[in-house]
Symmetry: C2
Subunit: 337 residues, 2 copies
C-alpha cells in the first residue's frame, strides 16, 4: 500500500524469491496446483498476495501461444441491433470461459483493418466481423494465417469462410410487398452505401418485390443514400419528400434511420401512416413503443451472435448459415393489409 506507483510490476521471479522456491514451482501453483505440495502452495499464495502479483499476460501468451479471446468488429456500436448481436456472442463465449473484445468500425474500411490487425497482433483465437466492404481478401488471408474467421450479418462472398447471416433480400422483399399490398405505388427507400452488402441486398429485395408485383422499379422506387443513424434518417427524409411525385411510403434500411425519419415527419406535420407510411428494419426494442409503433423486419439477433461464437469455439469446416427474417406489422405502415 505504501509502494510507489512507479515501481515495477512484480514478476514470477519476485514471488519465487519471496516464497523461497523456484520460478517453475510458482508457475505450477498457478497452472497445475494438483502437483504441488499443499504447504508449498500456501507459501506461494502468501507471497503472491504480499506482492499483489498479477501474471503478465503478454509473457504467458508469448510462451504458451494460446488465448481464449475473440474479437468482434461491428458497424456501429450505438445501434441496438449490433449490441444485441454482441450480447449473443458474449453469452455463448462465456459458456466456455472465453472473452470478447468489441470494436466499432463505423463502416470505415481503415478502421476495420486497423482493428483486424490489432486483434491479430494480440493473438486472438478468432474474429467475427461485419464487413465494411465487399473485399474478402484480407479476411481470407487472416484465416490462412490460422485465425478463426466468421463473417457476421452477411453471407461470406467466398466458400472458404464461415458466415452467419439473415436473408436480407427476403427481408426487404417482405417489407416492400407489404407496402405494395397497402396500395403504395411510390416508395422511398432510405438506404446506406451499396458497398455495405446488407444495403445492396436489401435494395435487391426491394426491386424484386416491385418487379414481382408487375410494376416498374424506375417508376415506383426512389432510393436515397445516407448515414446509418437517426441523423441520417432525418436528413434523408427531406430529400425523399422532395421527390416528384412524392412518395407515400418510406422504407428505412434500419430502425435508427426510421427513428430519424419519424422525427422529421412529425416536425413537418405529416401524419404517419395516413400521409406517409414507414417501415423499418431490425425491430429494435423500442420499435413497438414509438409515437407511431413501427412496422419492422425482425432478425434473430441473439442467435446471430451465439451461432457465430459457436463456430469460432468449435472450429471445423467453414459453413454458411442463413436465418430467415420476419415482418412485424404495426401502426406505422397502417397495420395488416
Amino acid at each position: 500500500m505504501t509502494r510507489s506507483p512507479a515501481r515495477r510490476r512484480a514478476s514470477i521471479a519476485d514471488v519465487a524469491q519471496h516464497a523461497g522456491v523456484s520460478v517453475g514451482t510458482v508457475s505450477n501453483v498457478l497452472n497445475r496446483p494438483g502437483i504441488v505440495a499443499a504447504a508449498t502452495q500456501e507459501r506461494v499464495q502468501a507471497a503472491i498476495a504480499a506482492l499483489s502479483f498479477v501474471p503478465n499476460g503478454s509473457a504467458r501468451q508469448l510462451r504458451s501461444g494460446s488465448v481464449t479471446t475473440v474479437g468482434a468488429i461491428v458497424l456501429d456500436l450505438t445501434n441496438p441491433f449490433f449490441t444485441d448481436v454482441a450480447r449473443g456472442l458474449e453469452d455463448r463465449l462465456a459458456q466456455d470461459d472465453w472473452t470478447l473484445m468489441v470494436a466499432s468500425s463505423e463502416g470505415r474500411r481503415d478502421r476495420e483493418s486497423r482493428f483486424l490487425r490489432l486483434f491479430e497482433e494480440h493473438g486472438v483465437r478468432g474474429v467475427a466481423v461485419v464487413p465494411s466492404a465487399d473485399d474478402a481478401a484480407p479476411l481470407v488471408a487472416l484465416h490462412e494465417r490460422g485465425v478463426g474467421v466468421v463473417v457476421l450479418d452477411r453471407r461470406s462472398p467466398v466458400p472458404g469462410l464461415s458466415s452467419v447471416a439473415v436473408d436480407d433480400v427476403a427481408g426487404a422483399t417482405l417489407a416492400t410487398r407489404h407496402l405494395l399490398a397497402h396500395g403504395h405505388e411510390r416508395i422511398a427507400f432510405i438506404n446506406g452505401p451499396h458497398t455495405i452488402r446488407q444495403c445492396a441486398d436489401r435494395y435487391d429485395g426491394v426491386v424484386a418485390a416491385i418487379t414481382a408485383a408487375g410494376l416498374d422499379p424506375a417508376q415506383v422506387l426512389v432510393e436515397i443514400t445516407t448515414r446509418l443513424d437517426a441523423a441520417g434518417g432525418e436528413q434523408a427524409v427531406h430529400t425523399a419528400l422532395a421527390a416528384q411525385p412524392r412518395p407515400t411510403a418510406v422504407f428505412c434500411v434500419n430502425d435508427l434511420v426510421a427513428l430519424g425519419a419519424l422525427r422529421t415527419l412529425r416536425t413537418e406535420g405529416l401524419a404517419v401512416p395516413e400521409q406517409v407510411a414507414v417501415v423499418g428494419y431490425d425491430d429494435v426494442s423500442f420499435a413497438s413503443e414509438l409515437f407511431t409503433p413501427l412496422t419492422s423486419v425482425r432478425q434473430p439477433t441473439h442467435d446471430l451472435g451465439s451461432t457465430a461464437a459457436d463456430m469460432l469455439i468449435t472450429g471445423g469446416a467453414p459453413r454458411q448459415v442463413v436465418f430467415q427474417p420476419e415482418l412485424v406489422v404495426r401502426a406505422s405502415s397502417g397495420g395488416e393489409a
Copy 2:
C-alpha cells in the same frame, strides 16, 4: 496463399532470413524506418509481404512494456447511455491513436473483477470503470500497481482516484420536483439495487425533493427495485400499480426501464400522463419519439466519456469532475408545470 493454415506464424527471424539481413534491421524497418537505407528497407518490406508477416503483439509488448490500449467496463452495453459514453471515450482516444476495449459487467462484481484482471494482464494503460459496487479497494490497488484508473458515471469514493460523474442527486431532485409541481402526491420510483451508487444517489435525490417540498417521503414514495432494463420496467410497474394508495406518477431510474413501464401501462390501458405520469433518466435518442414522448433527465454522455479518456491520456493528479444534468420536459409527465 497455398500455405497450410496450421503453419506457424512467420516471425521477424523468418523475415530477416528471407531478406538476408539481421533481425535488428527488420525491427528497425518496422519502428524507425528513418535509420535504415532505402534499398534495405525495400528488401525487408518485400520479405514482409511475401511471408505476410504480422508482428507478434505479445512479444513486442513484453519487451517494450508500453501499449496504448485502455479498457472500459460499463454496466450494460445494450443501454444506449453506455454506448454513447463509450463513443465519447473512443473519440477522444482516437485522437491520440489509442484504442478501446469495451466490456460489459452486467452489474455483477465477479464479471467486473474478471475483466479488470484481464485488462491488467494484458497491460492496458488505463481503465475507465462504471463500478458495480461501492468497494473502491480493487481499483485503488490497481492504480497503485501503475494502471491509470478513472471511475465513470459516479464520484470516486476515495480522493486518490479520478472520476467523471454527473450529479445524480441533483438529477433525481429535478425530476421529482417536476412531478411534485404537477401535483403528484404519490410517486413510484422504479430503481435498481442501491449497491449501484447511481441508484442510491438518485434515491437520495428523490427523497430530498420530497422533503424540501414539506412532504413526508414515507407517504409520498414507493420504491421498487428491479433489473435495469426494459423487462425490469415491465415487471416493476405492475408492483407499483398494486401499491396502496395507487401512485399517480412513476419515476424510472433509466429510460430503458421507462420504456418497459410505458409498454406495460399501455397494455394495461392506463393513459399517460392523464392516469399515470412517467419520467425517465438519460434522455436516450428515442425518448422524444416514443408513443408518449418521454420526460427525462439529460446527461452529457459524450463528454463523460471523452473527459475520462482525456484524463487517462494526460495522466496527472487525480481529479473529480462532476457535470450537471438537466430535465427535458415532454408529454409523458404532462408537459411544463
